[in-house]
């Protein structure tokens, strides 16, 4: 009892610094965690994340990804396992820390083979996609800036000027949607899959990507980084962490 009260007090005093560590509910997991944790926490974190990723896989099979049913069930799982689920929830530090550490532990477990890597990347991407789509308002732009994909959203004036072109170049939109959605200015090279098939407006080496498609670009970026990181992780795994093999089997 006394122990946990002390911990909470320390946490409140450390407050701001910890908030800086995890400013968003999601991340690209670029920096590995550097603290010390107990073996019990290590195991629990890993097991919980594995449960989460398995839930992501099962829900993706039973329901249409992105459908309301899918989203509500996934949210339930995330809450149950105490992972970050809502962008604006205060005091989310513990959940975000768990998210961070557990991801890196599982990386070591799942880098062992091509099949394991593929599975891990697939579930992590689906989880990321869900969380990204839950970002509201200007959180998308804030997050993009945070991960150095600073695609600026175009202003209302620019959007009005380009309204017709945006409407005609982006399938699935109508006038109202164009007004409602944010459009991001993405350099040509980062939106190759979109401009290649003329699904975006292209002007002066920039594509104008609607909010609904920006996730594809961000996901692509995330996948590239994660694949590279897993390849590196394989080396670390071979050097140590043999016990982790038991998690997977």
């Amino acid at each position: 009892m006394e122990f946990s009260r002390e911990k909470r007090l320390k946490a409140r005093l450390a407050g701001d610094r910890r908030g800086d560590l995890y400013p968003h509910s999601l991340q690209f997991y670029l920096q590995p965690p550097t603290e010390n944790i107990s073996l019990a926490e290590f195991e629990n974190f890993a097991i919980d994340r594995l449960k989460l990723l398995k839930a992501v896989e099962n829900l993706g099979v039973s329901y249409v990804k992105g459908s309301d049913e899918y989203k509500s069930r996934l949210e339930r799982e995330i809450r149950k396992l105490k992972f970050p689920f809502k962008a604006l929830v205060e005091d989310d530090y513990d959940a975000r820390r768990k998210d961070h550490i557990s991801h890196f532990i599982l990386r070591l477990a799942y880098c062992q083979s091509e099949d394991l890597r593929r599975w891990f990347i697939q579930q992590e991407m689906d989880l990321f996609r869900y969380r990204f789509n839950e970002l509201t308002g200007d959180l998308v732009e804030k997050f993009l800036k945070y991960v150095n994909l600073s695609y600026g959203a175009i202003s209302k004036e620019v959007k009005e000027k380009l309204a017709v072109q945006l409407l005609n170049s982006t399938p699935g939109l109508n006038g109202a949607k164009v007004e409602e959605l944010e459009f991001y200015k993405v350099p040509l090279q980062e939106a190759m899959d979109l401009f290649r098939v003329r699904r975006v407006y292209l002007l002066n080496a920039f594509t104008y990507v609607p909010q609904t498609d920006i996730v594809a670009i961000v996901l692509n970026n995330y996948r590239t980084k994660l694949s590279k990181a897993l390849a590196v992780s394989t080396l670390f795994f071979l050097a140590s962490f043999v016990p982790l093999a038991s998690l997977v089997n």
């Binding site: 072109q165 005609n168 040509l188 090279q189 401009f195 290649r196 292209l202 002007l203």
Partner: protein, 398 residues
């Protein structure tokens, strides 16, 4: 831009100057020579533009191709360990060849061109150049007559030179509207909404369509030719047109009829689809995609026609006449005449060879084309200096 090709090539100093920015750029550029009896020699590289010229005079290649800038000097690639030698960058190039339009032109047989079908190249240049400039934000584009049946485009922006093979292929995909081989009847299919690239291109094609297709090619002039056109419209309109066409007098009248019938048939776009199938540029993706793909050098002489591969002045695009492009024999006689005149004057013995040659070709009909090239290179130099200034300003260098 790498050095140009033969005895009449512009002074190499342009190229040496433009390429001084990156270390060993010229030295790591691949050239290939096609010699007599079709002997093809690849991975030629040179220490300087002068050395290239000397080798050209020695070997007398029929054709000179320009390739990529590699990680190491191509001529020394065997000294580099496997896998390390690779193509680093190259201009983005496009090759538009008249033979790719054989299914839609009636004026010539496959190997030939005439003033009637040349308009297809004019249209192609207008459409692609607009897209490169406005959509892709590209500044430095050089269009060159291939010497026989088509045109090439060299895109030289620094950033574009570093593009991956995937980016180049994606660009060609974006620029492609006519799809399908000989078995495909309808090669253009438009669905709403119409992407701005398509509507922008259409507004460039439309002004040429009547003169080119209806008058020049007379695509609705006889039942044999209009049957091909009518195969591209919805079936119920097709029968209507087949019935009504014989009553009209010429292609122009028949086209008006077709347009009128199509008006009642929205959201179909057969009218646009026909225009695009008959006129829209057809690119060869294989030429553009590969970073190491070699392409004929500007100013080289086409072995079959003797014509020089000259740059095209876009400000006078509609007046460009491939049949007025100088041939090597014509240039030779012009040079001979120029020398005869000079013999009568006092000649400066001490004048360096390259300088004298500069004066030489300026007296031939190649001069205006060289001017286009010089301006192009000047623009690139200006642009690069601007970039360096900007960068040094940012860094606070004074």
């Amino acid at each position: 831009m790498p050095g140009a090709a033969q005895t009449f090539s512009p002074p190499s100093r342009f190229h040496a100057g433009s390429l001084a920015v990156v270390k060993n750029y010229f030295q790591r550029r691949e050239f290939s020579f096609t010699l007599r009896d079709d002997v093809y020699v690849r991975y030629q590289s040179f220490n300087s533009p002068q050395e290239l010229e000397k080798e050209m005079q020695k070997m007398n290649p029929y054709k000179i191709d320009v390739g990529a800038v590699y990680s190491h000097r191509p001529s020394q690639r065997n000294t580099v360990h496997m896998g390390a030698f690779h193509a680093q960058e190259k201009e983005l190039v496009f090759d538009i060849d008249m033979t790719d339009y054989n299914d839609v032109r009636r004026c010539c047989s496959s190997a030939e061109i005439c003033s009637k079908c040349w308009i297809l190249m004019t249209i192609a240049i207008r459409v692609i150049d607009r897209a490169l400039m406005e959509d892709f934000g590209v500044k430095h584009r050089l269009w060159v007559y291939s010497g026989r049946r088509g045109v090439h485009c060299w895109v030289c922006d620094d950033s574009v030179r570093k593009w991956s093979s995937a980016m180049r292929a994606a660009t060609v995909e974006y620029l492609t509207l006519v799809k399908g081989g000989s078995e495909t009847v309808k090669k253009v299919n438009l669905t709403d909404p119409i992407h701005p690239f398509i509507s922008n291109s259409l507004s460039l094609v439309e002004p040429y369509f009547e003169q080119y297709a209806l008058v020049g090619q007379d695509i609705l002039g006889s039942s044999e030719s209009w049957e091909k056109v009518v195969a591209l419209v919805p079936e119920y309109i097709l029968w209507l047109l087949l019935r009504e066409f014989p009553k009209k007098h010429d292609s122009i009248q028949r086209w008006e009829l077709l347009k009128k019938k199509m008006e009642k048939c929205k959201p179909c776009h057969a009218e646009w689809e026909i225009m695009l199938q008959y006129c829209f540029p057809r690119l060869d993706i294989n030429v553009s995609r590969g970073v190491s793909h070699l392409l004929k050098s500007p100013f080289s002489v086409h072995p079959k026609t003797g014509r020089v591969s000259v740059p095209i002045d876009l400000r006078k695009l509609d007046q460009f006449d491939p049949f007025a492009v100088p041939t090597i024999s014509c240039l030779c006689s012009e040079l001979d005449m120029a020398h005869e005149e000079e013999d009568g004057e006092k000649e400066n013995e001490a004048e360096p060879e390259p300088r004298r040659r500069t004066r030489d070709y300026k007296k031939t009909s190649l001069a205006p084309y060289v001017r286009v090239f010089e301006q192009f290179v000047e623009e690139m130099d200006k642009s690069r200096k601007g970039e360096l200034l900007k960068r040094s300003d940012l860094q606070g260098d004074f």
